[in-house]
């Protein structure tokens, strides 16, 4: 078990280092931030002054080392635009993002697991087909289309729900649904498949031969086994949700989170903020994966106890 944890953590650190390095070189290739900050109307001398001021005159390798060095003081450098420590800027964005992510995951589990199980049990009746039809439709609908549709209907036409920001619980409804829609669809389908695999296993027959009620057979013997496979997919999917989904959804709803920050800093070529925002998202993805990995090992005694 501990061996597993240590291995997972080591993988995490290596992954993060690779991501940070890639992001650094990718941003340096994406154009000159001085042009963006000061526009065209400045003299050549001022331009060089600013380039020196931001440390952009040094060779790329020096910049890279400086960038890695900026991790050490815990501030991760200063924002080009705001001249504040990057760590402060990102820190105030973390909690709103996390809130949205957690409510998205919560909604996903709450909806897709019961419906997935039902779709497996009633696979031959209209209930199963209905669930799967909705799941396919949801899977085919991109999250930004779903978001814009909801905005049109519930914010503009009916005026039921607030559009911008994260002030009240009402603000959570549309972003959460938009964020988790595709995941709900995917996870319902996946739960169904995992349950179908499990339903045909020999130990399910054994459980019924013991005279256990169907509820116990399905939930205790069936779902517990299916949850191992579901967990492994959930890890990957939630990671995608944290990275890609939140960028789009936070921008649409002006949600003051990391995703929104990522987009604005990229547009403004604020390298230090951009780099750290990407790092924060990457960290979230990697941490979620690690947690799922460890939970996975815990859920399956064959891994936990180091057996076959």
């Amino acid at each position: 078990m501990w061996r597993h944890v240590v291995r997972t953590l080591t993988k995490m650190v290596v992954t993060l280092f690779v991501i940070v390095t890639l992001v650094f070189f990718a941003t340096r290739m994406s154009g000159n931030s001085i042009d963006y900050i000061i526009g065209e109307s400045v003299t050549q001398e001022d331009r060089e002054l600013l380039t020196r001021y931001y440390g952009l005159d040094a060779s790329i390798w020096t910049q890279y080392l400086k960038f890695l060095g900026s991790f050490l003081d815990g501030q991760f450098g200063l924002s080009f635009l705001e001249r504040r420590p990057v760590s402060d800027i990102v820190a105030e964005r973390v909690w709103p993002s996390l809130q949205l992510l957690l409510s998205g995951i919560g909604l996903t589990l709450l909806v897709s697991i019961p419906f997935g199980i039902a779709a497996a049990i009633y696979r031959k009746s209209w209930i199963g087909s209905a669930i799967m039809t909705f799941a396919f439709a949801g899977y085919a609908l991109p999250n930004f289309v779903l978001a814009i549709l909801m905005v049109l209907v519930f914010a503009f036409t009916l005026n039921w729900l607030p559009l911008v920001g994260n002030g009240t619980p009402w603000h959570f409804i549309m972003p959460t649904i938009a964020l988790s829609g595709a995941l709900i669809a995917a996870l319902t389908r996946f739960t169904r498949n995992a349950m179908l695999d499990v339903l045909s296993q020999d130990y399910m027959r054994t459980a019924r031969a013991k005279g256990l009620p169907e509820r116990t057979v399905i939930l205790k013997h069936g779902f517990r086994n299916a949850s191992i496979t579901i967990l492994s997919v959930l890890g990957l999917q939630v990671a995608g949700l944290a990275a890609a989904g939140s960028v789009v959804i936070e921008s649409i709803f002006s949600w003051p989170g990391i995703g929104d920050l990522l987009v604005s800093s990229a547009i403004q070529r604020d390298y230090p903020v951009l780099q750290f925002a990407v790092l924060a998202v990457a960290l979230a993805v990697v941490v979620i994966n690690a947690v799922v990995d460890i939970a996975y090992a815990y859920a399956d005694p064959r891994i936990r106890l180091g057996g076959a």
Binding site: V6, Y203, T206, A209, K210, L212, R224, D300
Partner: protein, 574 residues
Amino acid sequence: MSDLLSVKNLHVAFGSNEAVSDLSFDVPARRTLALVGESGSGKSATALSILRLIEREGGTITGGSIMLNDGDGTVDITALDEQGLQRLRGNRISMVFQEPMTSLNPVLTIGDQMSEVFIRHRNMTKREAYDASRQALDSVRIPEAARRVEQYPHELSGGLRQRVMIAMALACRPKLLIADEPSTALDVTTQAEILDLLRDLQAEIGMAVLFITHDMGVVAEIADRVVVLRHGRKVEDANVETLFAAPKAAYSRQLMAATPKLGSGSPAAPPPRGNILEVSGMTTRFKMRGRMFSGHGATVDAVKNVSLVLGKGETLGLVGESGCGKSTLARSVLRLIEPASGTIALDGNDVTNLGREGLRGLRRHAQMVFQDPYASLNPRLAVHELVTEPARIHNLVSSCDQRELAAELVRSVGLEEDVIDRFAHQFSGGQRQRLCIARAMSVKPKLIVADEPVSALDVSIARQVTDLMLELQQREQVSFLFISHDIAVVERVSQRIAVMYAGEIVETGPAQSILNDPRHPYTRQLLASVPRPDPARRRRLGHANPAAPSAPVPRAGTVLFEAAPGHFVREDAA
């Protein structure tokens, strides 16, 4: 009426396909009825119908009645609702299944799974149920019951898991136990223990047993009465003595003739013409799972210092229980797995250190046939491509002669020529194994290594395949290294036998010398465990303690000595 269970005119169908037709039989109280048949005979469908689990497998009971009369009143099981069935299952009627490896839930502890039964049918509290589970494990003679309830199924051996299944089934002391091939997936020594245990517990609890099997040897060991099934119909229903003494139905006779019997003789030894295979001091080592921070991983020797020779045109039968290293040995001989040390010579040429090109040459002369004929044929190739593939790889056939070669090969294994355009899924298990043999023969090899080639087949089909191998040997002078856990099958095809135990060969010699004069304790135990298809000579061993190693684990470094001409035994046997 003293019959505990009466099945009358039962019909079971899967869709439009009738699996059981008009089947009637009675199970008397406290007796054992064996339902015998080959795959597709409807024996498992019948068993599942009695617990009404058949609906879950996609079948329906389309007619007939199943009456249970166990003193608590008479019920027609076919008319029970779900609630009534749940009260019946695991309580008045229990079932033990074939695969102990997959029949237990992998994510729940043994205690969790057993205590469920007590909580459900005996209204016990969790604590009481755990205590009862511990006692139940004791009663099936599982050592260290207190520790076992905390364990998960994967921590137990196959034999122990089947004991757990039995303990679970007998938890509520049912009046009827349905045992669906409970010992088929087990080694023969473990099978003997499980059969003994079932017999003891049957007497102790006073229950009836419906025993489902394909193995006539097991029937003779355990049954009082026998119902023989074929294609879902009853072909014979008789007392076990009557059936074995004078089987009435032609199919019963055929089934009995196909059942391999120990002591029915081996093929004659071919004239000595030198050795095709000489293996000396071979060890094959596996790394255990790697550990990141704890230095190098541990290793395990699956095959330890094994030496063997195989003469030209001869068959050497290699027997041993699962996990003894016989498959690893087979693969190491062909260098499909790299041995760690030792030498291998094929037809006098040392092949131990051959490179990639050299290995191709080796495989031109040595082919392999695997256990599972379903998994070892590519489903996307037509037969004429399948069976000629080795010949094509070695450029022994041009593409225009391919079909002719294929036709010749399928004819030589007893199939019609016109099958060469079909695909693997269009064949039965026995026919597929014939195709595997045809494929091996396509390069006219000098040696074929056959790893459990008939274990997945019904007895009558297995008999045909072993007959085919004997015939090929006569005609083509090919040598076989024949691996099996079934010593009776090995006797039928082998001139010489090697017994493998815990990675080593403990005894080797002429087949009849080994069978009639076994020297090593493990060989003796193996022979004593084989069920005899003769109810008058029931084996009674009383293996009480499965924890004690059944034979001494061989000490390292001991050598074989010659006990009789050509008959070698490990020193520790004496």
